[in-house]
Symmetry: D2
Subunit: 373 residues, 4 copies
Amino acid sequence: MGMVGGGRDAFIGAVHRNAAALDGQIEFVAGALSSTPDKAVASARDLGLAEDRCYENWESMLEGERARPEDDRIDFVSIVTPNHVHYPVARAFVDAGFHVVCDKPMTLTPDEADELATLVQARGTVFCVTYNYSGYPMVKQARHLVRSGAIGEVRKVIVEYNQGWLATELESTGQKQADWRTDPDRSGVGGAIGDIGSHAEQLVSNVTGLEIESLLADLTSFIDGRRLDDDANVLLRFAGGARGILTASQVCVGGRNDLRLRVWGTTGGLTWHQEEPNALLVTALDGPDITYHRGGPGLCEEAQAACRLPAGHPEAFIEAFANVYLAAARAIRAGADDGPGCDYPDVHHGRRGMHFISAVVRSSESGGTWTTP
Amino acid sequence: MGMVGGGRDAFIGAVHRNAAALDGQIEFVAGALSSTPDKAVASARDLGLAEDRCYENWESMLEGERARPEDDRIDFVSIVTPNHVHYPVARAFVDAGFHVVCDKPMTLTPDEADELATLVQARGTVFCVTYNYSGYPMVKQARHLVRSGAIGEVRKVIVEYNQGWLATELESTGQKQADWRTDPDRSGVGGAIGDIGSHAEQLVSNVTGLEIESLLADLTSFIDGRRLDDDANVLLRFAGGARGILTASQVCVGGRNDLRLRVWGTTGGLTWHQEEPNALLVTALDGPDITYHRGGPGLCEEAQAACRLPAGHPEAFIEAFANVYLAAARAIRAGADDGPGCDYPDVHHGRRGMHFISAVVRSSESGGTWTTP
Amino acid sequence: MGMVGGGRDAFIGAVHRNAAALDGQIEFVAGALSSTPDKAVASARDLGLAEDRCYENWESMLEGERARPEDDRIDFVSIVTPNHVHYPVARAFVDAGFHVVCDKPMTLTPDEADELATLVQARGTVFCVTYNYSGYPMVKQARHLVRSGAIGEVRKVIVEYNQGWLATELESTGQKQADWRTDPDRSGVGGAIGDIGSHAEQLVSNVTGLEIESLLADLTSFIDGRRLDDDANVLLRFAGGARGILTASQVCVGGRNDLRLRVWGTTGGLTWHQEEPNALLVTALDGPDITYHRGGPGLCEEAQAACRLPAGHPEAFIEAFANVYLAAARAIRAGADDGPGCDYPDVHHGRRGMHFISAVVRSSESGGTWTTP
Amino acid sequence: MGMVGGGRDAFIGAVHRNAAALDGQIEFVAGALSSTPDKAVASARDLGLAEDRCYENWESMLEGERARPEDDRIDFVSIVTPNHVHYPVARAFVDAGFHVVCDKPMTLTPDEADELATLVQARGTVFCVTYNYSGYPMVKQARHLVRSGAIGEVRKVIVEYNQGWLATELESTGQKQADWRTDPDRSGVGGAIGDIGSHAEQLVSNVTGLEIESLLADLTSFIDGRRLDDDANVLLRFAGGARGILTASQVCVGGRNDLRLRVWGTTGGLTWHQEEPNALLVTALDGPDITYHRGGPGLCEEAQAACRLPAGHPEAFIEAFANVYLAAARAIRAGADDGPGCDYPDVHHGRRGMHFISAVVRSSESGGTWTTP
């Protein structure tokens, strides 16, 4: 694996590396870890990469890796830069026939996303978008339950993603994460809705399989001068008649990484909470509440296969992230993306996410009209 | 105390009687407990009322009580009928100078509510609307914290009320509660939004003091043939710029009485959950989470005064309900409604609730437009 | 109902009165509410008792009530004094043919308890010991599950009762509750083990039906000069081979009223926590966790009958206490204590409790030897 | 790093490898992964080790690695075999000057533990015993709070470790984990008390720094024919006067990996639960409850340094395990074990654990006498 972005001062790059390393199946061998050439090389050296694979920028990495013998070059590149860099890097590597793991949101615009999807289709490469929460075993169990009809036909969805880290004007303090995430040139049109709302959208879509037919949004920026939303409240109407609420906020003081999903169908309901990810609560029309536990009895095959440890030995964020990497790696090895265990969020998830963000922003800017993503 | 409604087969009447009896300060002495005269009298006898105060209907009760010596008549009437009966009974008793405790929503229409408010003002009587959740000590603590600035200026509110008991067509089974609650002639224009959404609205208003400037609603009825909403999703904009979400549903399978409030301000946040009402979680910009407990340290005076038992000896629904009755009783005794401990939801709460329900229904019927309550 | 003890400054008397009043079936008409005659009468007046039933002491109350016509005297007396007064009052009233509700621990000594049990047997009166936690619906459900074999044969029990209110030398501050509870002349030989350990013992016995064959205790008093234990750790061996731990402490700083029971059998386990009393967790050998809720599906008849409200409308301490009063009242009315709903902790529970306390103290004093209660 | 044990069918070996791999700082290069030479080699090949470092047994691995140039041999060996193999392997590697990471319990007998401690002292090598729970950031925070006096002088400790996986006669089904853990020749004298009770003991010692002065145990084996305890209940007396309870069981049906610690001092208390390891509850004499979160505000330096992710992005079992490996690796690199971050459980923890297990078994076998470890 090679990596673009994720050098010194970055946050998510280290998580990607932990996740890729965890199972000892993916070797990190090349990197263009910063947009600043010196820092890129220094960061790569910090991490012990071979000198000739400490690249100054992604272009030289693409060139350098292509120049290596086929069995000695990276199998895939992991793109963990700010959003605006995703598209050019992804396009170039896909075009060159490399597989790609790319952070979300996938691009800056829906058009870029459409083009990328077309290109991936044409090249036949594996393209994984790191909607990492889909890697949690209990999310897989939730998806299994909903899709196998365990809660009947879905009627109502509430998905929330409450954070508080942008409750103050953090971007003016020099904090890098806050800086680019509040900058439309680097983040795109969505603030909270892009950064975390996109996770919430994917979680709903992934678990329920429902398509958002129409949405109506109210975006707010609570900090003076902040150019992107830091609070998003969205009403959802799904094809088939289900209704929903999606809320994503980064001004919920004290909110850590509070992603929660609740889905109710005609015969049952389920609740999952990312901060206590090892449990899944299921309710029924006429029976007591049931709680499934990661590693415990009653899990579907996909959920079981995603567990490393027995129940009660909690797995968490990095393990879920690693599951996404493992699934992509399996697909890369298999040369196909639909075998068993090749269950990763693909370019179509990424594309759907971009259209979702765009529709939310349009709806809100129009003063609140029902909008089709 | 006299009671109108709440006879055999009723649910909430018994709760009102438990609540009124709990502290041994309110005596239940007269009743017109059903709209069917025979049943009214039989129900009253069941409960051990004196024969001459087992009334056939509320009109005869009003007449009968007025005819008694002033020191031997009821001090107030408690109205626990289906919604459409609230207004005529309340108007008549207020007009006759009786104090009134009335279930929510207060009337069938905003106009009735306006008239009642005017009449109460004119007569100077105590008029308590049983928004019973306001009686919980930790709701009083939440109100205290918000109003004293402990979480700064409010930015975001999420209030939910998730129930599941109407997830099937219960009204066609002869279940009385479901029958009238899904009938617009007896419930008014709101289904879930009226029955439980109104509690959610009052909880927000009571705790935050914020005024809803505008709202946008999406109401649904998921059961074929059901004439009122059983699911309501509402975006809120408050005067001053805060944003919010209110959701109320009676088709959330497995949902019991899941009323939750979360409020975030510029410097903190709080969470309260009715099903675990003895705790209140408070978060901060830069400190660990704090949990206050009913009966425990750190409570404001009003919250302390609303506790009967030390911490860890849980108090619950009936005790909170009783606190509302106690506050109204104190006001009745004091002949004024603003003394210490006279903290009950009054006719203005009831009136505001009716305008809220009306605005929600209008917004939804218009296809989703921002509407002023 | 008449009451002995529970006047001004008392804590538990008010709870008894709330509990008795809640359902409107028990009328509080007579009282000897303090050991100080003036205070006794004043306290009774405070509570609105008729002047001739504001007694100066329990002896005059016994005499006064016996002198009244049979249909106008109290049906039973509720004894809510410090422990040392339980026995003389109880014995006198039972002997006079009155039914009794008595707080726990039932007497000062096992001998007194034995005598009382014999006398009750002889007089045929109802004698209820207010092990109030047995009134919780979910405790009834736990008992039902264990006794009906839902968790197989019991192997292991952990019961805890952690409080913190005596973590400082509260008795030297004039706090009345602390004062008598740390005084062996008024409390008996047990401190924490008597005051709350006895509840824990009864909870285990009530739920499992197991008999303690032998126990081994380590009692400590952490406060200089305190004459009774404030911390008790006890190993249990039950007839049939089950093992257990009982711990009761009043120096667990921050502990509120943290009574917890866990029972594991050959095929399942259960957990109940008094501070969140509306839920009961059940585990299984090879299935997911199940949570029953008060008022919800899956409850046994006794548990259902003990609920006033639907699920999600929490009931708590006073309601459970009231269930004990209701059961005793039903038995008094029925003239027998074994009819349906007459499910109250009787004199044998009280007697067993006294032998338990005595055995714990003996075991600890002997330096830790297995002792038979 | 080389590994002894942990081949095909083993459980904990894979966890050790995940933990070592996570941070990309420890390379797994050599292994003698099974006691069966063929399986040892095949398992090593499975994991991609170089052919010449797929050893048939630990003796050949020791020889093979010693024969390599100093800068190309393993820095340390990780011993993840059943217990009876720990001592000979550890002794040989330490004697040869290799650093060691060894699973717990450290040896079969206290004598072996004493000898090992002496040898480690003599050789000056790093010897880490994988009491992995000590790697959790919130355990470090708990230790910090207790040791810095935040809860005053410790009075009472309750530590529990409840599992259910041996509630049936699993050892007769061919399950390898159950097989050796119930066999005294491979496990030592302790069953549950050795396997998990030793973790509980270390957790208490690590957090509080208290020394067990005396203990009294009741061990049981609930399965016919099982030769080791599957349930252990132990009373503890600590030097300085604190009291405690330790319970460890593997027959608590439905119990997953339920390790919990509660400590109360003169001014506060704390609660930590391994299954929800990201939170730490702290109580106070006269303030509300406080909950610290991993990655959140209020953490001590050691706890902060042990976090990879921000709050709300949960870390769990493997991350904590990896923290132990990292600390040992730091000490190995530093050539000393007391630098910053070199916070690993050392040979003295392992030795203390062996004496604890031995004392528990002796106390129980004597019928319950206070015994000094």
